[in-house]
Symmetry: C2
Subunit: 683 residues, 2 copies
């Protein structure tokens, strides 16, 4: 067999290829995957390549266009239908080729443009900046069949399955372990429409039946569409107790086409998970109401996202859902009772795939709903998704992941071992139960700094540029204090020496801002005339206490986890969730919210749960990975730790009663050991 030298750019892969092999097959042999959907039918055009002409000294080859088989009639027809594409790109036919149609007959240098490359990737921007390959669980294949005759009246399904076996092998290559035709299954509802679709499908090349088949997990056919259809869509959803966020993605390219969010409608039945569990326990139809509420919101978001992306909801072929264990149970119509009562047991940990129609979710009825695994009653599928997004289980270093909300979930470990726990932190960190606390919205203070000499504050407000001291536009704008400014405020009160390490307002300081309010001492950050509510906005002794309780719970959980793991400090601290994205890392450390470490090793990664859901949607291998990881992760229950209460007391101090905080030591005003600290809670 004559062989020729083939070089592929930009990868630089090269090798000797048998004459007559298609460029696409040659590329695969050289380790370069070129996309194709149409099973090398010159239909999809996904496999376009550019032929470089000339003598390439560097490679010692003389590449010519005629070193490939001539442009075939089908290929010419494909390009003839796309004059705009050729014009926009400045390509001429012959220079651009369909790699499935062009066969090697001489040395040639081939450029594989970005859009033709197989194994598409998306990039996760996070502590572990990395590319994630698009390996969806649903893939489309163009299948061409010979219509049935009296001589070959084999059934529609078997005809399709045999064609699918052929197409799949062409698209995916012989090396992939793919099923034989008789191993394919078909969703029952999809089967019901099959015969009519096959017979209504456009014919080409002498009467072939042409359909596009969507296959789930290389096994189950879930949709058959007439003709050639390029894209499938999927939705990733993070069901938070407060907000439901849905991301609509193209399953082939990984591209995000729409992001929609809504308030979680269950809020009318209870603000936090415990009150919703209570509601479900106390009302006969409580679970049903909670369940229906979330299903209907999901259907609304699906509709909005499909509208935004200009597709039909029936084109959405899969959903991946995450949420805390309560949201997970309510979504699946599983009673959350035992999540809220000791010994706090979920109904199920493992991930599940449930038909959309079984849950009443309005995507394609044959599509599947994949729900990520839960880890414990208070470490839910959202934590699993955070692990998917950050991959602590692939690190050599020890990472501490913290998702802060009303409840904080913590995961610690490395590639060898992962441990997790959770702790209630109360709503203070999110701005609730703080006198002038509010959600991060226009009018909320987001930053506070207090001058330690003058004891005068300055602040920033969401929706206005700069500091309030810089210009007058601030006047009348402030409404309250959001989570990040609450951390700032408490940290600054401590740093400026207004409150002591036990969180108590000091007596006898010279400032008109420090005063005795209705509920005790307080420090006024904004005077009434600066606000839109016409009242002074202070931080009170009570606010400081709330933060102390929350941060002590979080810190103690982290410390207990580290101790059980046998570690003093984590190598990296990763803060997930909206809260983590906005807080000042240094201030958080100063009040002892997070363990001490080099500030550069503290990362805020935003909505890791949502990102994890999206990654699991786009890459099926990540699902298998997280199933395995969650089976192995060790769960620690803090209340069962005999030292917990003791440690919690010590942790209420700023930054901590008995731990050195070397990395923020320079900010601590005057450190004193205080024997009274232990009595903090009994006061």
């Amino acid at each position: 067999m004559t062989k020729h030298n083939i070089i592929l750019q930009p990868s630089g892969s090269r090798g000797q290829i048998d004459e007559g092999m298609s460029v696409r097959s040659a590329a695969r042999d050289l380790g370069v995957e070129i996309e194709s959907i149409c099973a090398e039918n010159a239909t999809c055009g996904k496999c376009m390549v550019l032929i470089e002409e000339g003598r390439f000294e560097k490679y010692n080859i003389d590449s010519k266009r005629e070193h490939l088989s001539p442009v075939s009639a089908e290929e010419a027809a494909y390009f003839a239908r796309r004059p705009k594409l050729l014009k926009d790109k400045g390509w001429e036919v012959g220079q651009v080729r369909l790699s499935c149609q062009s066969k090697i007959c001489g040395d040639v240098l081939i450029n594989v443009p970005e859009e033709s490359r197989g194994n598409k990737q998306i990039v996760r921007k996070s502590a572990s900046n990395r590319a994630i390959e698009v390996k969806p669980s649903v893939r489309k294949y163009l299948v061409s069949m010979t219509p049935p005759t009296l001589e070959r009246p084999i059934a529609d399904w078997e005809r399709l399955a045999k064609g699918l076996e052929t197409s799949m092998a062409l698209v995916r290559g012989a090396e992939a372990k793919l099923p034989r035709w008789y191993d394919f299954t078909v969703d029952y509802q999809c089967l019901r429409g099959l015969s009519a679709i096959l017979r209504s499908s456009p014919t080409q090349k002498g009467g072939n039946w042409n359909v596009t088949v969507s296959v789930w997990q290389d096994k189950e056919v879930i949709e058959v569409q007439a003709g050639y259809v390029e894209d499938s869509y999927g939705a990733a959803v993070d069901i938070g107790s407060t907000t439901v966020a849905l991301y609509l993605c193209n399953l082939r390219t990984g591209e995000m086409l729409a992001a929609e969010s809504e308030m979680n409608p269950q809020i009318v039945y209870g603000e936090d998970v415990m009150s919703r569990i209570q509601y479900a326990i106390e009302n006969k139809d409580g679970l049903e109401k909670l369940h229906k509420a979330i299903i209907s919101t999901l259907n609304k978001l699906l509709k909005q996202a499909a509208h935004e992306a200009k597709i039909k909801t029936s084109e959405i072929l899969e959903m991946v859902l995450v949420g805390n264990s309560t949201m997970h149970h309510v979504l699946l119509n599983l009673h959350p009772k035992d999540l809220g009562l000791a010994p706090f047991v979920p109904a199920i940990h493992r991930s599940m795939d449930i038909k959309a129609r079984e849950l009443g979710l309005h995507i394609n009825p044959s599509g599947n709903i994949h729900v990520l695994p839960t880890i414990a009653s208070f470490v839910g599928a959202d934590t699993s998704a955070m692990i998917v997004a950050e991959e602590p289980h692939k690190q050599d270093e020890n990472w501490l992941l913290i998702d802060v909300g009303t409840n904080a979930e913590l995961v610690l470990g490395n590639r060898k071992r992962l441990v997790c726990t959770s702790t209630p932190t109360g709503p203070a960190l999110e701005g609730a139960h703080v006198e002038y606390g509010m959600r991060a919205a226009p009018g909320a203070m987001e930053r506070i700094v207090i001058d330690e000499k003058t004891l005068e504050p300055k602040y920033k407000v969401i929706g206005v540029d700069g500091w309030n001291t810089d210009h007058v536009e601030f006047i009348g704008k402030v409404k309250g204090i959001c989570g990040s400014a609450i951390i700032d405020g408490v940290a600054e009160l401590f740093r400026a020496g207004i409150v002591d390490s036990r969180g108590k307002f000091k007596q006898g300081l010279e400032s008109k801002r420090i005063r005795k309010g209705e509920s005790g001492w307080e420090y006024v950050i904004a005077w009434a005339e600066e606000t839109s509510i016409g009242r002074d906005i202070p931080m009170t002794q009570q606010d400081v206490r709330q933060i102390q309780l929350a941060k002590a719970a979080l810190f103690t959980a982290a410390r207990t986890l580290l101790k059980r793991f046998g570690l003093q400090d984590p190598d990296k601290v990763i803060l997930a969730g909206g809260f983590g994205s906005f807080i000042d890392k240094e201030k958080a450390m100063l009040i002892g919210l997070i363990p001490d470490c080099v500030l550069d090793n503290v990362y805020a990664v935003g909505n890791a749960a949502g990102d994890g859901a999206r990654i699991a949607l786009l890459n099926i291998e990540k699902r298998n990975e997280i199933d395995e990881v969650t089976r192995k992760v060790e769960r620690f229950e803090l209340p069962t730790d005999p030292e917990f209460q003791n440690q919690f007391m010590l942790a209420t101090s700023f930054p901590h009663m008995s731990e050195p905080f070397p990395h923020i030591a320079h900010l601590i005003p005057n450190r004193v050991a205080d024997p009274m600290a232990k009595n903090f809670m009994s006061k």
Copy 2:
């Protein structure tokens, strides 16, 4: 390790067993499976054995009861709860033991009673008399769990799955390839009830949670019941165009508990499959009506059978359904249009498993409906079931299986190759389109003999003993002629020389019974006074013609199949279906309905489709087998055979124009070649 001699009766298995091993494990080691459901928990009592005491010279052992560990408290408690059992059997505790509890500590001879033996069998009485092992797809396991605690709050499902892994290994033995706990899946609707059932389950032995878990295909949990539950049930259904028959079976023992049948309600939309297909094509909601009719009849039969067996329909955990391709499609709500229009293509061949709730069948909603594979448009899942029942694919000889109805399906072959075809035979063989034809019911003639000298007939009637000529009770009883008597009648008219080999009434015969009726010549079998309808009952020229057409179609199909297969004659002819059970084999051969062969090699096997459905219900391996067989069976379409019409003409003669029938030659009156026969149809 000390070893002891163990002998098991009645199998005679023997061997050396380690001291301390349980009798049940020892038996398994010696190749004797003893039943158990409760995972060796002394709960189910399925593993009872009898200990034989004394010196057994033959085996050279001295067996004593105390060669086993003493009766345990649990074991004693088990027997104490069953005084009646001990009294009825005449057993005393110590002589009878639970083999899971008793451990070997000396030589012992053990009798395993019938009911304790594992691998239960059912016997198929047919051409292939054989025992079929009960290997159901749904099995029950008693699972005992430690309730969750704060220290071990693992989820309900995972707790159950781990317990199930343990129980399954105990019951099935280490050798069976069984899944790990994380490989089990759970039906979504079953999961919804799980947590409540676990918490309501009776506890024993210090607070264990005890539930009985039903597992489908060793993988999917489809039911969890509180406490110990012994039996599961399944239903096998044969959906005939005319009659729907349902068999309710115990999935553990294989026992049939009820058999119910009903007319197929689709009859109001068309008597045969073609007219029902037509109805579905012509009416917008035609398919929906046909589908709903059969589903509601199946639900009615399920209810009746459950009532008969004194169980709840929710205890039925699986159904296996068979039927011709049209019945199959309508059951699955697949449009049968393409079954009835050239090129006659089914929607699907392969077997399917569909959740009962998806089809609206009222068994346990998490149970599965297994539908056997179809082979062609007119060779349906009923033929697959016939193959399951008769197993031609396991024979060295060449078997010809024929299922006769309005349509006849034929399967020919051996372990190396199977071919099949079908042919419309018309309703004549079932008694329709014959002037006085009727179904086999009281009042129908079932046998006819004509004296070749006097040309006088005698007959038998369903519901009355003996021949009509024997006694007078017959008078006023006869209503019509059923299928078997129609074959008899035509054969006897031919044998007695009243009609010639071309089926024409001969002229000038001396009998008052032969006369010219309204539609031509006829022969009166019963005079008006003998009947309950007050009219003479004749067989007419037209009746003979109808039978000629039917038998020619069937014979030609058989001959074509044999020819394609390269055979002159089959080794055995197997007639399935009610029709085959009642006809006189010799007469059938005399008119050339079936190919000539030794009469002893013609078998009537009754409702093979129903039996096949039941076998597939009780033995999952048979399902895999038939899936494989149907993928390989070769389908011949008769209309595409150029010789078919020609052969058909020759086959209209009695027994055949151009074939020797040596085995019934002595019955043929005076054989003459008749050149006019070819023109029979054009007359």
